[in-house]
Symmetry: C2
Subunit: 200 residues, 2 copies
DNA sequence: GTTGCCCGTGGCACTGGGTGTCACTAACGT
DNA sequence: ACGTTAGTGACACCCAGTGCCACGGGCAAC
């Protein structure tokens, strides 16, 4: 094989993206655990060793460039309007980070279905979410003057992530709603302390 | 080795508990990933194969009898007072399930420190928590008349679990507070929609 | 008591994820 | 032309987890 020096400037990123799509398709068709790293590598035309140089774990092939999403979330929170409630800022940031173009929605569905349904990926997701939580907790800490590891910042971070993942699940299961609407609905419940629950 | 037919009626459960403690100690001393299944088996005086008959995965050796805790949570929720708010029932159930005797607190600390700090165990925990969430979501659904996979039941389940784990983290980090107090504090914030956050 | 069954156990081989190392080669600057 | 750098493939290795088989002790039925 060897580097073909495509006409493109960054062959590395290109290879990575290709392998990612190949892996995602295999996973979707046959299930995450049923596909071996060897098979992905062969289908993508690279060696097993090279696969693991592009992705630290098999699970990482599903997550795309998640780090840049976290970084974007961080920037959005940093630029948030201090006048609005903290939860509103967080909700808006989550909505913006997950504002995909219509043509990208199918791939997003594919990815998220996998992540939320496959046990091995559910497990892996916890580690990724920890990064998100750190960013959100820091923002809450900045806004309230507390330390990032105090109860409130931590709690707001984990429960707003809970809101986000729940919104994703409903979005996937329903199929007719818009992700942004589901996110807003979940955050509205959270910010109001689940008002409909008090009657019971 | 072979079955020694101890003086105890249930040698199996006894072995399991012994292996669990041996594993927990090794993990605490050297880190979860640095301890191999072979080493645990040898230290516990059993074969590697037998270790994996008692525990499906290495991580399971840390979790004790978690299924019975979930079952207990389920019973507590089933017997909850319909007069009080749903979140109050959930909070009370969480508090009761985590009401350990003073002498058991050190082991609990050991376990939870591991689970919350070791990446491999954080990942594994997601799968365990899913069982908890199902139980809580079903209770919320019963109380509100919604389906268990609707937004509200799911969201309440995941965010009350977020409250519980956050309380655990604060409890571990602080060292002076009581777990029950931390749980109550977290649930109070959640149920009130983070009132202190609105000012900012 | 001998026979047959059940079950916990150990040994062994095998799959599959992930890593360390080395050698090859193409692109690039000087 | 030269050395450097970076992506790659091949190979050996570690370790978690599994399937399979064979052993051995308790325990009933006869």
């Amino acid at each position: 094989m060897g580097p073909v020096t495509d006409l493109l400037p960054d062959a590395r990123a290109d290879t990575r993206a290709r392998v990612e799509q190949v892996a995602l398709d295999l996973f979707t068709r046959r299930g995450f655990e049923q596909v071996t790293a060897d098979e992905i590598a062969e289908a993508a035309g690279i060696s097993r060793r090279t696969f693991f140089r592009h992705f630290a774990t098999k699970a990482d092939a599903v997550w795309g460039d998640f780090a840049s999403h976290v970084a974007r979330l961080d920037r959005l929170l940093g630029a948030a309007d201090d006048g609005q409630p903290v939860l509103a800022s967080i909700c808006a940031a989550y909505v913006q980070v997950n504002d995909y173009a219509a043509e990208d929605l199918p791939v997003l569905r594919q990815r998220m279905t996998m992540i939320l349904r496959e046990p091995a990926l559910q497990a892996h997701s916890q580690v990724r979410y920890a990064d998100v939580d750190r960013v959100v907790a820091r923002h809450v800490a900045d806004r309230t003057g507390e330390r990032p590891d105090a109860l409130l910042p931590r709690l707001v971070a984990t429960s707003s992530r809970a809101a986000a993942t729940t919104a994703f699940e409903v979005w996937l299961a329903d199929g007719t709603t818009s992700l942004a609407d589901d996110l807003h609905a979940a955050f509205a419940q959270l910010a109001a302390g689940f008002p409909t629950l008090r009657a019971h």
